[in-house]
């Protein structure tokens, strides 16, 4: 999803942790003076900031690399699901080098197990280096 596509979907608050494949996305959102953006330092922190934005009436989007998906398992399971808080995710999916390979295999299953399938945009960046 490009930044323009993201804007067209109505997101008005963006918080995330960088991935190399979000370089242009982050450049574009930082140049959009109408967009609120927080650069988070961990993925669960990003989700929590988005929850604060949701309570404030915003439509937030959280972006992260799939390597950080493990960091959101608890906040999705103990906050988003039981409290019925809808937060959408933009997740880049890395395959190489070796440290990404296993998470690449299990990313879709984790998203499915977390029951956030309908709220996730996966970006296949498997060939990204």
């Amino acid at each position: 999803m490009t930044y323009d596509e993201c804007r067209a979907k109505g997101y008005d608050f963006i918080v995330g942790v960088p991935c190399s494949c979000f370089k242009q996305f982050i450049v574009d959102l930082q140049s959009d003076t109408a967009m609120s953006y927080i650069a988070a330092n961990r993925e669960d922190t990003a989700v929590a900031v988005a929850v604060g934005a949701y309570f404030s009436g915003k439509k937030p989007l959280v972006f992260l690399q799939n390597s950080g998906l493990g960091h959101v398992v608890n906040i999705v399971s103990s906050l988003l699901i039981p409290y019925n808080i809808p937060i959408d995710f933009l997740i880049s999916v890395r395959k190489e080098p070796f440290e990404h390979t296993h998470m690449y295999k299990i990313t879709k299953d984790i998203v499915s197990l977390l029951e956030i399938d309908s709220q996730v945009y996966l970006i296949d960046s498997s060939s990204h280096s």
Partner: protein
């Protein structure tokens, strides 16, 4: 000062502020002492009450946002406290009740003696030493808690 005295001191300082309370005993204490629709009880998600406060404060610069954490929760997401130091949101206030323990799991020690919480943005630390029994569990359901809190904003 005891844990309940610290919670009482925080609650006494509030008028119409929005309050996000961490998981564990502190949420139960606040619910027992002074439940109000402006309170959000974040059961679970340990360490994430403060960044919820960041998301609230960024979007509501005209409202005072208060977060109540324990030392264990604050330690679990120290990076979010650094984010708070970086953003310096003037309307965001953080109270940390520091008993040096994970009280609700049996009083095991935390490593809070390894950090000075007062270095963080708008942070007040209450060092509490006495053990007190847990307050009763919160009787509100999670969806009710979230909808009630959100209604304060939208």
């Amino acid at each position: 000062m005891t844990r309940l005295e610290a919670v009482q001191a925080v609650l006494d300082s509030l008028t119409n502020e929005l309050l996000v309370v961490t998981t564990g005993y502190l949420s139960r204490d606040v619910f027992k002492i002074k439940d109000r629709k402006e309170n959000f009880y974040m059961c679970g998600s340990m360490g994430n009450a403060y960044p919820i406060g960041i998301g609230l404060a960024v979007n509501n610069p005209d409202k005072r946002i208060v977060v109540l954490s324990g030392d264990g929760a604050a330690l679990m997401s120290l990076g979010s406290l650094a984010l708070g130091n970086s953003l310096k949101l003037p309307s965001l206030q953080h109270f940390i009740v520091d008993n040096g323990k994970y009280a609700s799991t049996g009083g095991q020690p935390t490593c809070a003696d390894g950090i000075d919480f007062s270095q963080f943005h708008n942070t007040t630390v209450y060092s509490v030493s006495e053990d007190e029994p847990a307050s009763p569990r919160i009787t509100l359901g999670p969806i009710e808690m979230a909808e009630r809190f959100r209604s304060c904003f939208v």
